[in-house]
Amino acid sequence: MSNNTISYLLGNHAIAQAISQCSTDVVAGYPGTPSSEIIEFLAAIKPDCHIEWSVNEKVAMEVAIGASWAGGRSVATMKHVGLNVASDPFMTLAYTGTRGGMIIISADDPGCHSSQNEQDNRRYAAFAQIPCLDPAVPQEAYDMVSYAFEFSEKFNMPVMLRPTTRVCHGKSGIKLRTSTPVHHEIGFKKIPSRWVMLPAHARLRHKDLINKQQEMAQELGSSKWNDLDIIEGAKIGIIASGVASVYTKECLEKLSIKASFLKISTYPPPVELIKELLGIVDKVLVIEEMEPIVEDVVRSISNSISNKEIEIHGKDIIPGYGELNVSIIASCMASSGFTENQKEADIVDKTSIELPNRPPVMCPGCPHRATYYAMKKAFGKDAIFPGDIGCYTLGVQMETMDTCLCMGASITTATGIYHAGETKPICCSIGDSTFLHTGIPGLLNAVYNNADITVAILDNRTTAMTGHQPHPGTGQTVTGDATYMVLLEDIAKSCGVQFVKVTDPFNIESTTEIFDKAKKHKGTSVVISKQECIITARRRGIKPTPFEVDIDKCNGCRMCIKFGCPAIQFTDAQVEGEKGYAHISNLCAGCGVCASICPFDAIKEVC
């Protein structure tokens, strides 16, 4: 890679590029938006390192920890909620510390673009006392990777890199630096006082962790990631963190606000810079997405400055939920007296034409739609359908998704609903990748504790929602190598399930029959509804014949419309008294389920 090459890269690809340029030895992660492209890109460019999709984030974190303890450089990647799964090793890793440089990438999702919550993982970093870097733009994320490795190796501490969706899925011209290979000696060294967290060792390591906080904070505070721009004579100070700093800068320029500006991208926040700013201004506004982490620090520093009263604003003005942008910041500043220039305030007239909502939907030919159709037919609409996380969460549109909490929670919450005394039949849904992620302990528990529930494993042979990553059930690794293909039915049987059936959901009749038997079975039953994701099937070149409606036979009963496939449309009667009819568009993927649903035999393969 020549010096000063500029490549147009996705933020996640820039991060991956940096990882590959830093002589990294092991990268492990579990797919999750907005983090997935980091490992996918690495697997595509094939650097000389071990890359894996781990079974879940806890596993990924521990694999990366092991690699670091053995002296290698390692990275664990996950989405923000993935760190909840990996929080157990994460918290104690702060005590043990690292040997080879280790980066934990937590891709946060303010605005819940593709997540069940929008938690701010800067809090986790503070909780564990692990340093955190919060890039504002993709270039900074790229640049931070090599810094993080060096920092980690200097302090024997892991470093959290916390890009948000706008950085992960932002694209810009990235100035790539020249790779400089780093040699690190691999070999696990037996140091029980470091790696064996017996209480006696843990107490000492905790003290050590606290003792090195100040030195780490000083080094972070003086790093180039923070920047104080003092405007002579300005009595207003604006502090903004990470991605909010670029929105704020644009806003200050547009509204011609005269203010000294402190950009913060390291945690713990830079105390000296904050003190310097507080020393010269009368009024401060802290702008950060989500939690008031910088604000809390600013307030505590301000309280310690006894000779001066400083007006501090933050979450009293700036929303603590959702994503920020220039318009929100501008209107917040206008409404709170930080600017009199109201022209940017968010007064926007929307069209008066009523636009139809466009929610995401299961694709035409998606096997999940067929599974849900059969499930609902067998269990009835009054049954309880606890759910899980994946494309199949869209089953909420088919009324077969009554809950969605976190990865793996379908089987366990179903168990709880049953033991609470719910008498209606209970059938929960979980995808293949999610089952392998955290579903197995729940299934084992359900059997062990005699839960009379049905577990549907919607096995579409991939981790679909996050972009079709392989998993242990697919027989393939992230780099395309063949590996042992674990059978979900074997796992279910090993958990002690007495009723385990595999079915093809495109065969509605037999799938409904199997669900019906599962419902009648006393005890935990498992139905594995197995059919490849239509997107991966297409990519493999499978093109089933599409279907069409014979308008003469169509009775206009709308049974097929109720199936909810985007390829099926209905034309209302043009003349009063006549029937409308269904027709199938060129979106048809040829699953044929509508043909088996039609009571009038009006849907046939295109000749």
Binding site: S114, V137, Y247, S327, E354, R358, V361, M465
Partner: protein, 191 residues
């Protein structure tokens, strides 16, 4: 430096990311800074998608409301949904072919009349180019080149050269489809 804020909207699966990539790469290859933002994840399953491409800008990738120089609408209802991004001096380039959402297909709500939406869009912009990109794409040789037709129609307004855009198309579309895409781009320019 010329600054140009472009909002590209469409439906998940329609190819909005490739469309914004063609523009973004052309900017980078012309030595112009660019910050873009994409929709990945759940919305890609047929939901509304919105990409921002900021040419000549070094701030964040999100375009403030009422500031976009252009909305490239790959679908008419989505163009109207995003109209509050457009500056009063802005331009709208819109594909007139609707994609009905599941809410309209199921009869839960009605999809507005396309001509009515195009007329409404005119109220928000200085200039509007309505393109039947699907038909032009077929004319170019393949229905899947509709978005490149749209980039052709857009090319008259953005501060990037035709050569840079064509080079970007050559680099990003599947190798076997380069010729048909270049034809689509050129037909789009005639709109």
């Amino acid at each position: 430096m010329i600054e140009f804020d472009l909002v590209i909207v469409g439906v998940g699966g329609q190819g909005a990311i490739l469309t914004s990539d063609i523009v973004g790469l052309a900017a980078v290859n012309s030595g112009v800074p660019v910050q873009a933002s994409e929709t990945h994840g759940m919305a890609q399953r047929g939901g509304s998608v919105e990409n921002h491409v900021r040419i000549g800008l070094t701030y964040g990738s999100l375009i403030p409301k009422r500031q976009a120089d252009c909305i490239l609408g790959l679908e008419p209802a989505e163009a109207l949904r995003a109209v509050d991004y457009l500056s009063s001096q802005g331009v709208i380039v819109v594909n007139t072919n609707p994609i009905l959402p599941i809410t309209a297909l199921s009869g839960a709500c009605e999809y507005p009349d396309v001509d009515m939406m195009i007329n409404e869009l005119r109220n928000y912009c200085k200039e509007l180019v309505a393109v039947d990109a699907n038909s032009i794409a077929k004319q170019a040789g393949h229905p899947l080149t509709a978005n490149v037709v749209m980039i052709g129609a857009l090319s008259k307004f953005i501060p990037l050269s035709v050569e840079a855009l064509e080079e970007s198309i050559r680099r990003l579309v599947p190798p076997k489809t380069v010729d048909v895409n270049i034809e689509a781009f050129r037909l789009g320019r005639l709109q």
